[in-house]
Amino acid sequence: MVRFLAERIASAVLTVLGASILAFLVLRALPTDPARLIAGPFAKEDVLAEVRAQMGLNKPLVMQYVDYITSFLSGDWGFSYGAGKPVLPLIAERLPASAELALFSFVIALVAAVAFAVLVSYSRSRILDGILRAVSFVSVGVPPFWIALLLLMLFFETLGWFPGPVGRGPAPQHAITGFYTIDHLLAGNVSGALNALWHLALPGIALALGSFGYLVRLLRANLLDVVHEPFVTVLHSKGVPPVTTHFRHILPNAFLPTLTAAGMILAQLIGGSVLVEQIFTWPGIGTLVIDGVTRQDYAVVQAFILLSALIYIVVNLAVDLLYGYVDPRVRRS
């Protein structure tokens, strides 16, 4: 178990290093000159040289990378010239909004995927199975921003059931976790929490649909595989009722291989909701990144790339460790 842990953590650290090199090089490879961006188009060559020296851009590439990594680790993620603020607090104040939206849509996707996959594999109905496969096929293929627009047209404009693209709704009095739903609940404000959920619903569903389609297809296939395992015949021969067999034996066996995919999806949701955030004017890191790209505010983009990689790797590490806990075959070996 110790070796398993050490191996996983070592490989995670290596992956983060790789991602940081990539983030570093991609921005260095761009044709724009950061010094000119700061000093302005009419700056003289000696001013530019001074700015470059100030930013360390005249050092060798390797040294620049070392500088970059050490300052990243010490919490200096660069300065956003667009926002006029250091990048770290800028991201820190916006991350909870993205994380709440991502977790919310992840829960929707996972719960719905389990429910529908179990329903189809248990009922063995070809019609239900056909419908589910069609839905999952479409939901994986359709881009989330388009779903977001459809949802807004239907549930906001036409029916008026959900709020429009106005962000997260009123903020709670005290920011404790940064999640509006939880902070409202902690303050004893149930209607505030419900209101936060109400604002989460449309962007959450828009984001969840693709993940749902992917997870449900995977889980359905796993369930139908496990249903035909010999041990299921043995369970029937023991007189175990079909519902018990399905929920307590088949589902756990089918769910284990889905765990890895679920982890990847969670990580992707946290970093990858850029367009949907933009549509709903969600104050998350997605909107921050779009601003960063359009204003050529590279410190923000660079930090975002590395942060996404970091989240991805941490979530996957967590999933690996979770395997060690829930799968007896991994636990003991």
């Binding site: 010999p230 041990f231 021969s237 066996n253």
Partner: protein, 334 residues
Amino acid sequence: MTAAPLLEIANLRAVFDTPRGRVVSVDDVSLSIPAGKTLGLVGESGSGKSVTSLSLMRLIARSGGRIEAGRMILRPAGGREIDLAALPEPAMREVRGRDIAMIFQEPMTSLDPVWSIGDQIAESVRLHQGVSRREARARAIEMLRLVGIPAPERRVDDFPHQLSGGMRQRVMIAIALSCRPGLLIADEPTTALDVTIQAQILDLIRRLQADIGMAVLFITHNMGVVAEIADRVAVMYAGQVVEEAPVAEIFATPRHPYTQGLLASIPGTTAPRPDRRLPTIGGMPPSPLNRPEGCRFAPRCAFATDACRAAVPPLEDIGGDRKVRCIRWQEVSQ
């Protein structure tokens, strides 16, 4: 014989509807097993022996088949009489695991990989006897000791992947016998195991059979195993029983040409001679979609005549508690 047998199968017919037509896997099979005795059901792959056992457990629908005709009377302790073929599914679930239990060929894949072996034994006990979690665990440990697993208090929390094939088959037996069933169906339980482990498992089944007093339907294609464990033998060929007799008689005086062929093809029953090859039965069993009109063994039989090919021979009672499905058994036996 005074008491009615524990199990009486009468005219069982089990069929599968396949895209290429209707397949009669088990055709007019009648068998009976007295309480505490062992019937060996022998035949090659596709002869219908496993379908017979799955029909008994009413698990045949899982593989796409159905029971089309026949009765399967079970007389569990307490003087009841149940027709398994007509029993509603909820009542059948209570019979499974409590009155009839089954062990399977593949111990490596017969256990749920994410449940501990103790929980898998306890599941049966709790289901059928409604005991507490704690009691069920104690029973699981007791069963593990009974099937010869060392240090059962420690092993009870092990998971299947931590056990060898032989040990897993012992766990399967522990699960099957945890509710002391009147009938155990053993479907080739030693086929996937090493020879030394095979002998241990056979010993174990025999010993527990004596302890619990249960009847055993032992399905195998291995005549050597039959000789070890069975009181009576039924030989199946192409979905039908072709011969049935006490075990000693089957080996001493096989009456059906197919049984004779089976026995002759066991290595080591005749003195090995370098100039002689092991006898085999020529040809292949008929496709279940296209069986011969008359005797199903006729195309492979050295004794076959036009009369054999004309009509299906009846399973004839030939005295001495024996039956044979061959119109020429008297000539064949000479």
